[in-house]
Symmetry: D3
Subunit: 309 residues, 6 copies
């Protein structure tokens, strides 16, 4: 897929889920670089930087995107010759993609161990990492049933219940507002995340913080499944996670909206769940309490404070 | 409208909102009674009881229904002659309908006084009483803006934003999951209710308890607008409010559901918000704290414990 | 049983449970009064007052005791002739005992309605009213299983599990410290009480407030079963409920205690569970929220402020 | 003591307390290894592995056991010659035992500094580390009095009050259910632990989480005294701490239980106190907040993720 | 004192404390009425209404003022002759003043019973009713010591510590910000109030809600001492309690303020403590939980909903 | 300024604020050392140690003081010759002072990024670091207005509002008791600190914990601005932060106090805000959650456990 097509599909949420976004971006950047004709080093670098910029602009809150882009660009930026710059692209891309895919499997294994016997689970949105944990636990015979939400406005819950159904897992489908109604019987809330901040807060699909609040109220533990590349280094030096507002037509059809002159549609795509509501974050490096996010960012992602603009 | 049509429409939620349900039921029962041909007293009573049963069966959790039905049936049951039985129907029906309509206006007046200056409000579902309070406060120049939710699965929020839009009120339309995201800036949550229990809990549209929980977390007060006929006498002697589950097709299209053999749709129409989350219930008799529900049931609705089966 | 024997057995907790205490006291007082020989009115009154004092002194925190004693003594105190004084004793005693027994049955009926289908329950101590609710709910096929605590130091839990076992109810027996461990799966905590104060707090067996705290933490509702004669009128005018400390040998054998010169055994028999932790108090007059305790004291027990010393 | 005897005594809780268990296991393993006759390296290793297995099987939740066993077995496993394998056993065992004993003294010193002047303390169960802190603080003149619980079902509280009594500390002995009753006057809750998980939760004697909840409710800080060998590395990769259920006869005599066919005794030995309820964990390496457990496991216990099966 | 002088002194807070305000207003109104010359009934009534208006305008949040004024004006308004109008003024005024003074004594008696033995108390602001409870408890030998706050900006705490000092009570004087620091050792927070709303919230000196929040956090009970005339009937029908902002010079000297062009002084005189933070309100009619405020307003103050404009 | 003068001014709070104290101490110590005449190495070291002691004694809770003193003394203590001892003083002093000043600027930059657009802020006391964050955010156009407290008893709030006023920031000045009244509209509480303990608690001006409690109640985040030299290493090994009580005349004029024989003034200068109430600590090394305090102490301040007495 061309760079432009990838960028467009990320923007349109046709490519969805932080891991997929990251891998697609890496792949597109890699192919774009390989496809570039004969160029001087500086021109090559500039073309690549522009491509990187194009990708980074598609989804400002998708924290995996800059991490992924940096993986490829690091080699380009440090290259002293055009040959060196070209040569590094493919290996670093493939390594990232392989690691990212392995991460999912590793998270599934670790996460499944935290799911108790005969568990009734709840999930919100359509996280591959969260679903992988649930399916692995099901394979081990530990899952009684799952409650999955609809996930307005884009109804990603449909993808989730299809995945769970195809894995043979007894699944209940509920509207987002039904979470507290069923919470008392839930043994564990299993969710994914788009970003983990330095103080362990989790940026995820709108509604997550509301459901996690209901979980805490009912003493239901909350487990977040997150590849380490979703940990957000920039929040160390103070950038607020800016919450993207998406197209209002996702929530209200334009013809209806047009009739209602006093009505504004607000469509924030994410919200922030505070670390207090979260019991454990399962990464491919192990399961950590949310307060340890800083350690992951520093020790596992290898960011120095100086690296960060 | 015929008795059968009314019953059907209540069941199908074409007639929606507890006040409307109650008034329609009273009207239908009244017209049915007047339309009955020449009958002996016992036959007349039996026909009326059957009609009452038909209506009562349409919506088990709509507490206003039995209260409304009883208003008409009390006279029928106590009547000693067929003339007396027939004569009482119209006046009691009209009185109930008039009081019920006045209640709305009175609640609007009292409720508006509890809305502070320059208020940012939130509402959930489509409560006539809650909307009346907001519109009256708007008329007094006190409303800055309102956040209204979509209200899945039947999207009653569309009715709410139309009503607010037509009243000229600046309104924001959000998905149900967005309530906590915007809660920090909300000055007051204004909601209606389907039933108030003896210990001040509020049975309302699914999602209400979740939003009220988020309100309490943010120190946002919660005001419930409720006609006194929504106070549920039977909960004194211990009947649990049974939460109705509605047609699953409201949540998931049947063709899709049919493909997903491991998936069950759960569609509870209501949830229960505990009294702890509620600051004030505005009735047409004044504004009371939720803990005073028992007083309303005993002193204003005039139920004795002996009246209740 | 003689007055002295009754007093002794109440003190020694051989007569246990507030209802039994009250009925035994009434019975003993009644028989004592009837057994008194030929006396002048003032001497008769004095003898009865002394008898009343003797009984009242046995258990200072058993609120039913003064209520019960007053039932008998009211007639004696108001009597103008010795005949009248004697005549009133038997009927008032029998009425109290009958009402007290009916209360249990009425509470069982009302309480059982508040127990949901397929319920997992927990109870603490050995309350006849609480057990009656559970057994009635079991009769209706609604009880899945019950968790009952040991109830140190006197192990009244043994009486509870015998009663539940004999009723054919699946019962789990746990140490008092195990309550929070199992709380997440409990649907309802059902307890009795020794006294209800004017602000809805509940004085019950030591440990109750600790278990109710764990219930609230886990969003498990708490239902208290209490005859109205357990509502404590004196707390209106400010008497603190004084918590009785019982014989230390209940906790630690005297020979061991004697060796430990720096060790004091503290053995409070009761603790106070605040109204905030309680969802409903089931009385024979209906189920009320704890905040309505004042209404019961005033309207159902008929205490005026002037009646209270 | 022979390996078998040690294993038996650990299982029977005659050897009690995580430090004692660990040291006894190390000692037994050491003596067993030294007592083995002339063997080939592989046979020696196999014999040692079997011995290790035997010990590990006695108490699944005693986290110090695998840590201790590994200390001895590491050398055996890495040995290239039978001489080397034999030679390492005694030194590693003695070092562990010495360190473990020093740990207690170091914890006492550090813990005592966290006990305020004129402190009223509470403790639950019989933790040597917790008692050491209290006795050291008493030596410094800072302890007013201690409340110690009975600790059903095995009454380890008796050991605690003996130890406190012999140290000359004014001690109050209460039933486990009395903790909340006295909590308001407690300045610090001082407890030990059987295991600390990676997210700072504490696995300790049943009832601990209930008492810690009451402490948090009353703003009473909670200090946990724990040698670093009690930090549980396996929870990093997701193993749930499985809570052992012990012999039901500890709770209810078998003849009585036999009569009650509907009654099951549940006897979980431990419960899990969440990190939120804990203010500080005092280790021999310093006092840390519970959220730093991961750092201890990684930096002080030297576990790599790869070391863990 | 003349009507104008009284009004001026109330406005200037030279007359302070709700009871004193009420009694002064009644006295001034009474003297004013008696001092009016020969007038027609309508002119007399008009003069009295104007006088009432003048008083009512001085302190909008002093709820006792309208209650007190109404006591005198009721007779005037209902009078059919000038003689009747004049005659009723003195007796109703004297009765109110006597009752108001007795109220204090009655509250002291009831409140003192709720103060436990050897109590460490805290108070905020300078409430005669709260101080009366404390002094009576001291007289009974139950008060160990009191913590009293400074009460910025007008330092009414000085009046409080003088009163406590003169009663021989060991008193600690702290800045308002020190309340949480000392809260852990406080057995009871004893405060007065300017108004009690229909849902049991308490309007009192700025800072009260902050200190009550700290009390709740530490499980310290909160007792409010309030004459029934401080219960606010108008809040039933929805009037918000408007919080008066007082002269900024109380907080910052004008010359300094004048130099700081970007600085605004905000000086709200009161804040609202929610019913959740309050355990008991002691009135002269008995001690009630805050949720019973409605009952006091209806049954003891005798307000009908129709009485309220 | 001479050593003695510096010490006196620190004690008298004429030199205020932890950074200023630290820099003044370093400067004074440096000048003192340079001013010492011809001395033997041991005499020089002794003189310097005495000077260090003098400074350390002025403010026991000012954690920056020992950190600062150690910076200078380290070189002195390790010096082998008098020349070496003298030579190190100036460079280490200047480096500390420069770093300390840069820290402020760095904190301002990082902190400002955490302040949202159009923010309404609150601050308590007079923290240079907190004010620097606010002014930088104001420079970026993000500050709507600030609420600043009076800060009894020494009214440091006056310094704060002067600084904010001079920076052109719209500022509201309120009494300390007013914090909760205005909290609902506050977007962020920005405070400084005197010390950060190993478990992330913050020791700051009396009243801070009370205001932070009100912030948490209203879901208002709390940001602490703290140079790393304020992190307190000694709390690792268990020293309690002792709260200094200052001169009672700050609270109550001596002549008045003298009249009140039963009144004691209590004047704690600081209180402790638990880590639970704090969302982020902004240091010059980045923004961390409070639970990471230990990492700062170990990794950034370079303390080993062995370094600490």
């Amino acid at each position: 897929m061309s760079l432009e097509d990838t960028a467009k599909k990320i923007k349109a949420m046709e490519i969805r889920g932080a891991a997929l976004i990251a891998r697609s971006a890496v792949e597109a950047l890699c192919e774009y670089g390989e496809g570039l004709g004969e160029l001087a080093l500086t021109d090559f670098k500039e073309a690549m930087e522009n491509a990187a910029e194009l990708l980074l602009a598609t989804r400002p809150t998708a924290v995996s995107l800059p991490n992924a882009v940096n993986i490829v660009m690091k080699g380009v930026r440090n290259a002293d010759t055009i040959a060196e710059a070209r040569a590094g692209i493919r290996p670093s891309s493939e390594k990232f993609i392989r690691n990212s895919k392995d991460a999912l499997q590793k998270i599934a294994e670790i996460g499944a161990r935290h799911i108790p016997e005969d568990a009734t689970l709840m999930t919100h949105c359509n996280s591959q990492a969260a679903i992988a944990c649930i399916i692995e636990a099901h394979r081990q015979g530990k899952v009684r049933e799952v409650f999955a939400t609809e996930v307005r406005p884009r109804n990603q819950g449909l993808l989730t219940i299809r995945a769970l159904n195809d894995a043979g897992i007894k699944t209940n489908f509920i509207v987002d507002s039904g979470a507290r109604f069923f919470m008392k019987k839930i043994d564990l809330l299993v969710i994914g995340t788009d970003a983990v901040t330095v103080n362990g807060a989790v940026v995820n699909k709108i509604g997550t913080s509301q459901i996690a609040l209901a979980a805490r109220e009912a003493r239901t533990p909350v487990m977040v499944a997150a590849e380490t590349f979703k940990f957000a280094p920039r929040t160390i030096t103070g950038d607020l996670i800016e919450i993207e507002e998406r197209d209002t037509a996702e929530v209200l059809d334009r013809p209806i909206a047009a009739q209602l002159e006093n009505v504004t549609v607000r469509n924030p795509a994410f919200d922030v769940t505070p670390a207090d509501f979260i019991d454990l974050i399962v990464t491919e490096k192990g399961a950590i309490p949310p307060e340890m996010a800083y350690i992951i960012i520093r020790d596992h992602l290898g960011w120095n404070l100086e690296d960060i603009r």
